[in-house]
């Protein structure tokens, strides 16, 4: 039931703005609650992220000396805008994406990594030593997980031969074999890549609370910090939907969407509480040595599979 | 080797510099030595003799008291009285303490940091709190007291009665 909405409402209300923001907050709640439960704690109440966000908006914005004032204010807005636009061409909640055009996969992936870029810039903008260290770490981590994550997302795209997310989503639903089974490495690289992108615990060196205060965002308070936080929640929503629609056989109904994304959330929360924080050099090492090569040979496999598929279609279930 | 033999061995090692030996407790010996030969004594006892380890350096201020005429309460007599530095060496249950008596004015001892780098902490603490200067100790800035602490004021001296205003500095 792919009903389309008049684009304005879609943009502001339903799959777009307000609903997306609240779902971002809800996802953050589920994530924090799961991690807390894994650590045998009770965890926050359901409206906690909303309270955090509103409180941050109401706090005094302190703009430290030695920073470019306009950039300081602009960066969080750009980051949030990037996350919001990335959500437009993604089949949120099982509905047809608002704008879908050929090649929107590349645009979405680019917009998703805009956020880390903005955080890196925000860190470098202030003179505070912690944020400079945090910024360098964030950018190093960006370079390390970006390539394997992108390659992992291209896997299903090449297998189905299209670059349009909604078409991939439909293609995935008709697949007899979910991509998670036919391309397991791709799934792993995508999921761990998403955790690297969002700096979730095993990869949270850039904002290691015990080490560098709050990393690149040390100097931000009030609105700026709130916008960054909600931007990151949105990225979590968009990322999970992307991976679920590609690798878990797409979704045709919202119900489909809910249980698949919840399963992914469960896995990420488990991964978060299982591992100690990897040192930044270990994360970079892990990605370049292990991640990139695995995904590359996976892609080669798919390409070979595709070219041979006319002769060997039944075998490969192509 | 039980405690008494250990103590005997320690006294043996340090015999040539000993002025006087007292026994405050059955497993302890206090060996009074002169300030000048602290280095050879420590060298013999710790480096060559391998006798236990330096557990602590304590600074002691034991002034002579005299009764002040008007106020009739005990007042510290500035000239008499002495400062003392104690080097405690522990080996199993035995404790040998090298004690040095120093005058109030010009209380100076040779630093043993060149032989035992980790002693610099104890020396810095004694320097700051009691005012015993350790000649050529590597680091002399404050270990414990705040940076804006008035120079020449040693809190653990009996003459120090705290600052007039409650929270100065």
């Amino acid at each position: 039931m792919n009903i389309t909405f008049p684009s304005l409402i879609a943009l502001l209300l339903f799959p777009g703005g307000l609903f997306l923001l609240s779902s971002g907050l809800f996802f953050e709640y589920v994530d924090r609650k799961l991690v807390a439960r894994f650590q045998n704690r009770i965890g926050p109440r359901w409206f906690q992220p909303l309270a955090d966000f509103v409180k941050l908006l109401a706090k005094e914005e302190v703009i430290p000396a030695g920073t470019i004032k306009s950039l300081f204010i602009l960066l969080p807005i750009v980051a949030l805008a990037a996350a919001l636009t990335a959500a437009l061409s993604v089949p949120l909640f099982g509905f047809k994406p608002v704008f879908s055009y050929n090649g929107d996969l590349v645009v979405t992936l680019y917009l998703l990594s805009m956020m880390t870029l903005c955080i890196g810039l925000a860190g470098a903008n202030t003179e505070d030593r912690f944020s400079i260290v945090g910024a360098t770490r964030a950018l190093t981590q960006l370079f390390s997980y970006e390539a394997p994550f992108m390659l992992a997302m291209l896997g299903p795209a090449i297998a189905l031969g299209t670059w349009n997310i909604s078409l991939i989503n439909q293609g995935a639903t008709q697949q007899s074999l979910w991509f998670i089974i036919s391309q397991p490495i791709g799934f792993l690289a995508a999921l761990i890549g998403l955790m690297g992108k969002l700096e979730l615990p095993p990869f949270d060196a850039p904002e290691a609370e015990t080490e560098i205060v709050a990393g690149a965002l040390t100097e931000y308070s009030g609105r700026g910090f709130g916008l960054f936080k909600i931007g990151r929640d949105l990225e979590l929503v968009v990322g999970l939907t992307l991976i679920a629609s590609f690798y878990l056989g797409g979704f045709s109904t919202p119900l489909d969407f809910i249980w698949k994304v919840f399963v992914l959330l469960l896995i990420t929360a488990a991964l978060q509480s299982l591992f100690a924080r990897l040192r930044i050099d270990q994360t970079v090492g892990l990605w370049w040595r292990v991640g990139a090569i695995l995904v590359l040979c996976q892609l080669v496999l798919i390409i070979v599979g595709n070219t041979l598929s006319p002769f060997v279609a039944p075998l490969f279930g192509g | 080797m039980d405690t008494q033999e250990l103590l005997q061995q320690a006294l043996e090692i340090v015999k040539e510099w000993t002025i006087e030996v007292t026994q405050p407790e059955e497993n302890r010996r206090d060996i009074y030595i002169d300030a000048r030969n602290i280095k050879p004594a420590v060298k013999a006892l710790l480096i060559e003799g391998r006798w236990g380890y330096l557990s602590a350096i304590t600074g002691l201020d034991s002034p002579e008291y005299q009764i002040d005429e008007e106020t009739k309460e005990r007042k510290v007599d500035p000239e008499k009285g002495k400062l003392e530095v104690l080097y405690h060496f522990c080996n199993k249950a035995a404790i040998a303490s090298l004690r040095i008596r120093l005058p109030y004015v010009g209380a100076e001892v040779e630093s043993i940091c060149d032989m035992l780098p980790s002693a610099s902490f104890y020396e810095r603490e004694a320097m700051e709190l009691i005012g015993i200067t350790f000649k050529n100790t590597p680091i002399t800035d404050h270990l414990i007291l705040p940076d804006n602490w008035p120079a020449g004021v040693y809190p653990l001296r009996k003459t120090f009665k705290g600052f007039e205003k409650k929270a100065q500095g």
């Binding site: 015990t210 | 304590t58 600074g59 034991s62 104890y122 414990i144």
Partner: protein, 394 residues
Amino acid sequence: MEPKQKSEKFVVPIGPQHPALKEPGHFEFTVDGEIVTNATARLGFVHRGMEKGVEDRNWTQGLYLMERVCGICSHVHAMAYALGVEKLANVQAPPRAQAIRELVAELERIHSHLLWLGVAAHEGGFDTLFMFSWRDRETVMDLLETITGNRVNYSANVLGGVKIDISDAQKDALLKGMDFLEERTEHYMKVVTEDETFLGRTRKIGVMTFDEATLLGAIGPTGRASGVQRDVRVDSPYAGYPDFPVNIITSDAGDLEARFIVRIKELYESYRLVREIVDHLPEGDLTVKVPRRIPEGEVISRVEAPRGELLYFMKSNGSDKPERIKVRTPSLCNWGSVLTTAIGHKLADMPMILAGIDPCFSCNDRMVMINGKQSETQVWDWENLRQYGIEYYK
């Protein structure tokens, strides 16, 4: 990221709030390229002037002051002070009181080691182990509370004995608690020896050889991890230790991992001791009279705190106020030995080495001064040091 900040020395704003608490301190490393050539510390952020304070308090008030030198090992300080006063007044506390003192001391060692395990795990970013070890630590805190009435600063000691007694109900609670903790400790031993990320940060790091440790006077688990047979409970037993002996635990690897393993093995040792004391607690009364005015004399009272040997030098002048009390805490000694062996190690290993000795003076606004060879000084924060380490290892 080699140091390139401005040269003049400036006070760094308050650094990261390390959720693992501890007093602020400040470390100074002189580096020549990567290798540390000189290391020292600047403490004193928590110096409250207690040695002077105790001189204008009488002996019993002094006990309550000395208990608050360090919140984590408060019983050990009070016991050392009380034993010293009893020696001065040549009075002997009854055997039941001595046994109860040892019991509370061992419970405190368990709580301190579990606390440290959580803190070290949190330092490496392993929050789940931090949460789990602190959750299990609650069991020993409850036991301490049932026996002494307070979770921290239990002030079980009184000059001349103990003011708490162990009833049978408390005895079973103790035994049950020990079984639960023993089973949990097996789990932690497995984690510490098998978890790759942990081993990556601890194996072969901060090695202190045997003769270095003996000469420099490394004490407590840090020294014993380098094979040094030094444990005051064994060398000169005090309180109840002659009747309930301890077997000393050492490992000769001398690196950070060995320090972890020695502490966890000491946990097992403490469980055994607690069970033994609870089974044969001697009968008898709890205190003995100690005169208000302590006769003149000098005494050294040595006690084994969770972090190492704690030394009290006490001098009395016959009045009801002490003449001089010198407290040498174990961490001061550990600092000296570890910072001296730090010379020659890489700057990158410093954070874990300093966390490894379970420093009571470890800091939350650790400022590190790096005087480069060309004598320009940069002030770094703890996380810069840690980040520098990480960059270095890349």
